[in-house]
């Protein structure tokens, strides 16, 4: 029995996400705003990659384009080898403002993802329960969103975004509106989930520390129009717990990236 990795090598190599000369311009003529790109980037399957940059640099724009929810002005995007020209239904997506609906409880909100896809959620009860447990929401399945704290809402939203077991997950600043302590705690749950299920994750953030802690690679995005200035491999052991975060190497990565943004005139 050979490790699964070996068979993966035999299969034709297709990157999870491939961007070639992708750019986005809003409007036309003299009013045109060049928002993003051109960008080339290859994201391998199972990677946790962060798009790190100041607000307004087009990170979210890129994410919507990968999801097929926004058309690129130029260039080509492929997900699992297929050109993206309509909304991809095989990905999980999550925004800064969560998509929990106020008329359904936590369990019902997670089931909504399945119901919209035409699945009967009753057949997936065990999966929903396991997901809730993995983000420490067991016992909250019957609660309404307004009964939960902001952090718990985002935890529930993670379950909603992951319940259909997508191979690719796009997270657009999912922790953006939370306080520092809650962010810290959800980060480690997110990391554990990723390590367990190994989906490809594209994570949009403007927190340097968050990007270094979670990512296998960090893409440093320049101010508008956003371009990927460089891609940094984060060579730190998993899981990135408190001990790793205390290490000199971790601090160096953070300091280096701070230096880059300082060079942009942002920090």
């Amino acid at each position: 029995m050979l490790p699964g990795r070996f068979y993966a090598l035999l299969a034709p190599m297709t990157a999870a996400v491939q961007l070639s000369k992708v750019s986005k311009t809003f409007g036309a003529g003299v009013d045109a705003v060049h928002a993003f790109g051109p960008v080339d980037l290859t994201i391998e399957s199972g990677e946790f990659i962060s798009l790190l940059g100041p607000s307004g640099c087009g990170k979210s724009t890129l994410m919507l384009m990968i999801a097929g929810l926004l058309e690129a002005t130029d260039g080509e995007i492929r997900v699992n080898g297929q050109v993206v020209d309509e909304p991809r239904t095989d990905i999980g997506i999550m925004f800064q403002d969560n998509t929990l609906v106020p008329w359904r409880n936590v369990e019902g909100n997670i089931a909504l993802q399945l119901e919209l896809r035409g699945h009967d959620p009753r057949g997936h009860k065990a999966r929903i329960d396991a997901l809730l447990k993995s983000v420490h929401l067991e016992g909250f399945a019957q609660r309404m969103p307004h009964e939960l704290s902001g952090g718990m809402q985002q935890r529930a939203a993670f379950c909603q975004a992951l319940v259909h077991e997508p191979k690719t997950v796009l997270l657009d600043e999912p922790l953006g509106k939370l306080d520092a302590m809650t962010r810290e705690s959800i980060r480690s749950d997110l990391q554990a989930l990723w390590m367990q299920k190994q989906p490809t994750v594209v994570f949009v953030t403007h927190s340097i520390e968050e990007a270094v802690q979670l990512s296998s690679r960090v893409c440093v995005v320049t101010p508008r129009p956003g371009r990927i200035d460089r891609v940094i491999d984060i060579d730190l052991p998993w899981p990135r717990d408190l001990e790793v975060k205390r290490s000199a190497k971790f601090a160096n990565y953070v300091a280096d990236i701070q230096g880059i943004f300082h060079g942009f005139g942002i920090l």
Binding site: P87, F95, D97, N98, V101, Q113, E115, L116
Partner: protein, 273 residues
């Protein structure tokens, strides 16, 4: 829902609890309300108000008891006009609001027309409808329909066209067809704003029916109030006004009950719970 019954503080039977809570919250209003009618009762004699101007509340009650059969019959007539017009307005305005929200052609034609007609007091059409259609039920129903239709349709358009960008994208990313997104996301998300229109229109309905009856009719509470005033019987006019108030309360109460039943999760319902 969230706060399960905390410790009981009163001693009586359990059904008494909501009543005592209400009393604790509203006793000041109750006293003011009773005080208002007591003041009215005594000031008629105190200020020597002639009876053809205004009666005491007690006299109004006695007079309306004497004329009760006719009052009840007319309440039925006016109530029927109001409820029919209101019901038809809802059943046409909501689908139309949905269509306008999603059709760019309707949004450029009917929608601006509706917005400009919103400035017209609809009740101004009442004499025309009476002259076209006579004294019967139909012109009143149409007038009630007119005063109810616009708030409902404008709120429905707003409701169906203001789904959050995130939910819109979330729905698209699931690949669900339009109908499924409509039933599972758009419709429930639109309900709170729709109810704003329903409630506003419920208040308009009795106003529309009353004024339509003022203009031309031979039955109904509006007719009754007008005739009683002409006969210098303010006591009977007040009886009619009281029943109109009850009718309005009943309609508004039914809509509010429907709101609590259909969207118990909404903040406006939770806050008043």
């Amino acid at each position: 829902m969230a706060s399960a019954s905390s410790e009981r503080t009163s001693l009586g039977p359990k059904w008494f609890d909501p009543l005592s809570r209400w009393a604790a919250k509203s006793w000041m209003f109750v006293i003011f309300f009773i005080g208002f009618f007591l003041f009215w009762e005594v000031s008629i004699d105190l200020f020597h108000v002639p009876r053809y101007i205004l009666n005491k509340p007690s006299e109004i009650i006695l007079a309306s008891r004497a004329d009760l059969p006719r009052l009840l019959e007319y309440t039925y007539v006016t109530g029927l006009e109001a409820i029919l017009g209101y019901g038809i307005a809802i059943s046409i305005a909501v689908p139309l609001g949905l269509a306008i929200a999603f059709s760019s052609i309707l949004r450029r034609t009917i929608y601006p027309f509706f917005v400009s007609i919103e400035m017209t007091p609809k009740i101004a059409f009442a004499p025309l409808f009476i002259s076209w259609l006579g004294f019967g039920l139909l012109p009143k129903v149409i007038i009630v329909f007119l005063v109810c239709f616009f708030p409902i349709v404008l709120n429905a358009i707003l409701a169906f066209s203001s789904l959050s960008e995130e939910l819109e994208r979330f729905s698209r990313a699931t690949g669900a067809n339009w109908a499924r997104v409509f039933w599972k996301v758009r419709l429930p998300a639109a309900m709170p704003q729709c109810f704003v229109g329903f409630k506003y229109a419920a208040l308009n309905a009795t106003v529309g029916a009353t004024i339509a009856e003022f203009i031309g009719s031979d039955q109904g509470l509006g007719f009754y109030i007008q005739i009683s005033t002409g006969n210098m019987r303010p006591d009977l006019a007040f009886a009619g006004i009281f029943l109109l108030t009850l009718l309005g309360l009943l309609m508004f109460g039914l809509v509010t009950a429907a709101e609590r039943l259909l969207i118990p999760w909404h903040i406006s319902v939770r806050r008043n719970a």
